[in-house]
Amino acid sequence: MMDLGRTVTTVYNIALLTIRETQRRRILWVALLMGILFLLIFGLGFHYILADIQGAAGFRSRSDAQLTEIIANFLTLTGLYVINFLVIVIAALLSAGSISGEVESHTIDTTVTKPIHRWEVIAGKWLGFVVILALYLLLLAGGVLLIAYGRSGYLLQNVPAGLGLMLLGILTMLSLSILGGTRLSTLANGALAFMLYATAFIGGWVEQIGALLRNETAVDLGIASSLIMPADVLWKKASILFQPRIMGSVDIPAPFVVTSQPNDAVVVYGMLYAVILLLLALWSFSRRDL
């Protein structure tokens, strides 16, 4: 039991160190500032677009109210889509060099020769990044949802579950790039993470178009690509959760509306992906020469 106590303390210390690093290296502040800028632009855009539509329509009939809802839904979902992409990119950027960088500079040598397990360092970094990314996601997504609600009274459905799925997608990226960082150089790892994400992303499009054309090979290809890197398919799952039923009747292009609906199993798959890749990272780092 004492050992468990030590492990918890070490993981906590490394997580705290990781958070402090993003703060000290001004990553946190730049991200916060840019996030506020993003919300500002989103808010202004939302306001003026809605004002334009409501002004033109006179905002009297019931169909106008429905149009408002459709536009508000579209803008909110677009905002969340961009945020999802942004936080995934930040997850990769933050974590890609976090381990390999310390290995290359030998900063890690003084850490792992302490009376701790090597895997505790990886677990601590992972946890630190999870906290940062979750808070950042909450700030940006919460901002977008609040702006939409405040201006139009419109709120997406299943917000906690949808945000949870977005976070899960971000965690799959985090685990992937942490795992890569235990063996690859920073640049190789970054390239790997982004290319896998891009592959899954384009695979997602192939799947959607394949579904429209009822081309099974294209759909299978898309599914295979989302197994390699499930962040994008988890976003699609989230976007289905968010969307009210009225969206089914309107033609809005992918990626905001999903033709080929991901199976519920993607959620379980996403969880397994994030956990197993993290465990592999813990194992891989414990076994390498430094």
Binding site: R20, S105, H106, D109
Partner: protein, 310 residues
């Protein structure tokens, strides 16, 4: 109770693919001993140290550290390590850096609070406690790294080229810290190619080349061995040279101002009084008998060879 060695290795070997970094490391370092690890660049010094510290897994062989197998965390709680590349989390202040590593050692807050100011004082950085490491010079980083290696009152400290970034004052500081450790009974494993440093601090040294230990010896023993002797003797004759053959080799005789200037190499210091006795008993007048010891650098070249590797 017999002292158990703080480091004990048997046939440790490390291969990186086809390249053999360490061929056979077999050595023992005793409690409280200052042990120097000498060898040219690329001899396998750093790889050897990394194996002992658990940073790199040996390909074969066995070793214990403080009586525990390599990588054991109980042993690691009692060792300190200053790496050759002293790169640390540079966005931490000096005090935060020491506090972090104290936490990683599992030290209680009260213990950290007590020891950190003392260590900052010891390495001459007390007035820089609140300065970020990014603003530190190379020498300051090496000194704060040394403080980090002493946080847990270790039984064994690994220092990999601890004076590489230091000026003469800094080197003197490191020497005095090592001497302090000796007094406290802490063993030090010192990797260095600065022979003057080794000469001034170490009890025993190992010479390593191409991943093999060529010799392990105490510095006092090295001093006794292979002494170069210079004699000035009155009225030298042929039997002088013949008679000296029994004590040493490479005997040279030069005559001048009526005295003979003889040089010879003897294998051990204890020959010196014997030579003096023999000369007197044979009726020679002895004007000078001066032993000249080889410097560690000369020893190094004698043992390691002067061939540049790689």
């Amino acid at each position: 109770m017999p002292q158990s060695p703080v480091i004990h290795t048997e046939n440790l070997r490390k291969e990186f693919g086809p390249k053999v970094a360490v061929a056979d490391l077999t050595l023992q370092v005793e409690e409280g001993e200052i042990f120097g690890f000498l060898g040219p660049n690329g001899a396998g010094k750093t790889t050897s140290m990394k194996m002992l510290l658990g940073l790199t897994a040996p390909t074969s062989g066995a070793a214990t550290l403080l009586g525990q197998p390599l990588g054991d965390r109980r042993a690691r709680a009692r060792i300190g390590f200053l790496p050759e590349h002293f790169r640390f989390h540079e966005w931490l202040t000096a005090a935060e850096f020491l506090d972090l590593h104290g936490r990683l050692y599992g030290m209680e807050q009260s213990a950290r609070r007590q020891v950190i100011p003392h260590l900052l004082e010891l390495v001459g950085l007390a007035d820089r406690a609140g300065t970020r490491l990014s603003a530190f010079s190379k020498g300051m980083l090496q000194r704060i790294g040394l403080a980090q290696a002493l946080l847990n009152e270790p039984k064994l400290v690994f220092l990999d080229e601890p004076t590489s970034g230091l000026d003469p004052l800094g080197r003197r500081l490191v020497r005095s810290i090592i001497n302090g450790l000796r007094q406290e009974g802490t063993a030090v494993f010192l990797n260095s190619h600065l022979l003057s440093e080794i000469e001034l601090t170490c009890d025993r040294v190992a010479f390593i080349r191409e991943g093999k230990i060529l010799r392990v010896t105490s510095l006092a023993q090295l001093d006794d061995e292979d002494v170069h002797v210079r004699l000035r003797v009155g009225a030298p004759d042929a039997s002088l040279v013949d008679g000296l053959q029994q004590f040493g080799s490479n005997i040279q005789l030069e005559s001048g101002d009526g005295l003979g200037l003889v040089t010879l190499n003897v294998s051990h210091e204890r020959s010196l009084p014997q030579i003096a006795q023999w000369l007197v008993s044979e009726g020679y007048n002895l004007y000078e008998l001066s032993p000249q010891r080889l410097s560690l650098e000369e020893r190094f070249i004698q043992i390691i060879g002067d061939r540049l590797t790689e």
